[in-house]
């Protein structure tokens, strides 16, 4: 962990517009030595400061094997992310982290992997997909399922094409198709029937809206997946990243230090859906 409290300066190296409201920022620490030492696990998050506007938690969406720079995929949804979207190449932000647990990929060797993502939930998973792609020979069959609202919201088209070339089973679906959309329609759980490998030797990683996670887990359990095989990354309000502010408290766990990646076994015991 790099300093629990003080944000360290980082510079925006490049910006790419993914969809109308989503941009991917490539950043690097101003202190080159820090950047050299930097490492993270897919699924971990960092706190980004836009000076004068505030701080927000965001998952890392770049490969853990390419740490010359760090990429964040950010949707313009609130005050601070809006300020972030106005920044240009060469401007500076503050970074703290990485925080939280990641996906324990080293434990998944020789297994088939199923990625289930909804909307911008693909961003934290992309880091894990890159990692699997890097060590492809160590894993079995790989599937990437992706669901979003409209064809305009589809993220990372280039990456998806690349993954398809690598023989990954890439399936996407939208809720509201347009005339040009040739793929699937409906929710992401509808894609499960197109994935044909046995539950026994498969690991599932899920990230998306909490409703999507909830129903994905239900459907997968019906298909015979055990809790130990399924991991989900949860979204919560976070202000500190180190268990100080208590915003991300879920039952007797903190999403920032015990999560954001939880095993489905833990999720079952936690009051994820409180009234």
């Amino acid at each position: 962990m790099i300093t629990p409290e003080k944000p360290l300066l980082a510079e925006i190296i490049s910006i790419s517009q993914d969809t109308s409201d989503t941009k991917t920022f490539e950043v690097g620490f101003v202190d080159k030595k820090l950047q050299k030492k930097f490492s993270f696990m897919p699924g971990q998050f960092m706190m980004i400061s836009v000076f004068g506007f505030g701080e927000f938690p965001i998952s890392i969406s770049s490969s853990p094997y390419k740490t010359n720079s760090i990429k964040f995929t950010i949707v313009n949804v609130g005050n601070v992310t809006n300020a972030m979207h106005k920044l240009k190449k060469g401007e500076q932000i503050g970074l703290r982290g990485p925080f939280g647990t990641g996906f324990p990929l080293q434990k998944f060797r020789k297994k088939n992997i199923l990625f289930v993502s909804g909307g911008c939930g693909l961003a934290p998973l992309r880091s894990a997909i890159y990692a699997v792609q890097e060590k492809k020979s160590e894993f079995g069959k790989i599937s990437v399922l992706f669901g979003c609202k409209t064809p305009e919201n589809v993220l990372f088209n280039e990456d998806m094409n690349q993954w398809q070339k690598e023989n990954f089973n890439v399936l996407s679906t939208v809720d509201y198709p347009n005339k040009n959309w040739k793929g699937n329609t409906g929710v992401v759980t509808g894609l499960f029937k197109q994935v044909n490998f046995s539950p026994e030797n498969t690991i599932v990683m899920i990230c998306g809206p909490s409703v999507m996670i909830h129903f994905s887990l239900i459907e997968l359990r019906k298909k015979g997946f055990r809790n130990e095989q399924m991991f989900a990354s949860l979204e919560r309000l976070m202000q500190c990243g180190v268990g100080y502010c208590s915003h991300c408290n879920i039952g007797n766990k903190y999403s920032c230090i015990d999560g954001p990646v939880f095993n489905a076994k833990d999720l079952e015991k936690l009051p994820v859906k409180e009234n």
């Binding site: 629990p4 409290e5 003080k6 944000p7 360290l8 300066l9 101003v30 400061s49 836009v50 000076f51 004068g52 506007f53 505030g54 701080e55 949707v75 949804v77 609130g78 992310t81 060469g90 401007e91 500076q92 503050g94 909490s210 979204e235 919560r236 309000l237 202000q239 500190c240 180190v242 268990g243 100080y244 502010c245 208590s246 915003h247 408290n249 879920i250 039952g251 007797n252 079952e268 015991k269 009051p271 409180e274 009234n275």
Partner: protein
């Protein structure tokens, strides 16, 4: 070593401290009539009972500056705040000293030091004042916090004088020999009996197992989400961080952390306006469980010192002692209603 301080010498002692340290914090009434801790400037002290507001303000202020950012051409300068002013806190009650040791667990021992807290903590000399009577709604005897701990000096009021017990060298150094005289008197008994009683045997586990108990709904129905409980609590520390521009500067901004309250909906609101704890039932449960269950799991102690301030402050008389006792006496059958069984 024990000492005696005559009551007529007490103002002299405070003046002496003020001269030496510049800042002495004492319990007194504020302009609205509420009792709280404030800087000493000759005002009348409030020594009858514990204050309405805790000494939290001097360790975890309601609004605390963390960083200042200054834009310099294309780069930023990030400065961390340090508060190195020495001060003396007089009149904190035993429950208050325990509240500080409880917060130490999180902000000093858990993941390394939080400088904003530990600066203030290390630069403050603590003079505790023993309670001779139980206060309204307090339940410190149940929580094991009726005797002070972690303080430098302990004052016990005895009619015409104070009996003073020195605990640390830092504390002994404050005892001016012209005012304080050695004594061989036995220490006055400081046993108090609280009317409120809480059964803390297995409390954390039991409350968590009764996550779906009907008492949460029953009690929260009259809750107003006014946050009086979390504001008056000496251990409630949850915060939100805010950035603010320095007015008129154009290149400077500052980051503050502001005490937040789990009783508000916005406490769990994420982008897209999704609220994870929308009902008062869930938020009241969060308050009680954080105190007795979650904090204990991580830090080995309750986040409650039994001062009873939340009960006194509540306008609709919701009492966490009542809630906890109801569950302790009539828990749901674990198998039937527990969280795990519901899924």
């Amino acid at each position: 070593m024990n000492y005696i301080l005559k009551k007529e010498d007490f103002p002299k002692f405070l003046e002496l401290l003020k001269k030496k340290f510049g800042k002495v914090i004492v319990p007194a009434k504020n302009e609205t009539g509420a009792t709280c801790f404030q800087s000493y400037s000759g005002q009348e002290l409030f020594l009858e009972s514990r204050t309405d507001f805790s000494a939290k303000e001097f360790f975890r202020p309601a609004k605390e500056k963390m960083f200042s950012f200054k834009k310099k051409s294309s780069s930023f300068e990030v400065k961390s705040e340090h508060d190195n002013t020495k001060k003396v806190l007089f009149g904190i009650r035993p429950c208050g000293t325990h509240a500080l040791s409880t917060l130490d667990e999180l902000f000093i021992k858990f993941l390394g030091e939080d400088n904003f807290y530990s600066d203030k903590r290390k630069n403050t000399i603590i003079i505790a004042l023993q309670c001779n009577e139980a206060c309204e709604n307090g339940f410190c005897t149940s929580m094991g916090t009726s005797q002070a701990s972690g303080h430098d000096l302990l004052f016990i009021e005895r009619g015409h004088d104070f009996f003073v017990r020195a605990e640390t060298k830092q504390g002994t150094d404050l005892l001016d020999p012209t005012l304080f005289k050695h004594t061989s008197d036995a220490e006055p008994s400081s046993k108090i009996e609280c009317k409120n009683e809480l059964d803390i045997e297995g409390l954390g586990e039991n409350l968590y197992a009764n996550f779906n108990h009907s008492v949460w709904k029953e009690e929260s129905e009259r809750c107003l989400s006014c946050t009086s409980c979390t504001q008056s609590c000496p251990t409630c520390y949850c915060y939100t961080s805010n950035d603010e521009f320095v007015f008129g500067s154009g290149t400077e901004s500052e980051r503050f952390r502001v005490l937040d309250s789990c009783q508000l909906q916005r406490f769990t609101k994420v982008s897209g306006n999704h609220v994870f704890r929308p009902s008062r039932e869930g938020r009241l449960r969060q308050f009680v469980l954080h105190k007795f269950s979650y904090y204990k799991k991580y830090h080995g102690m309750h986040l409650c010192v039994g001062c009873g301030r939340c009960i006194t402050a509540c306008p609709v008389k919701i009492s966490l002692v009542d809630i906890a006792n109801k569950i302790q006496k009539h828990p749901l059958e674990f198998q039937k209603h527990s969280l795990e069984a519901k899924k």
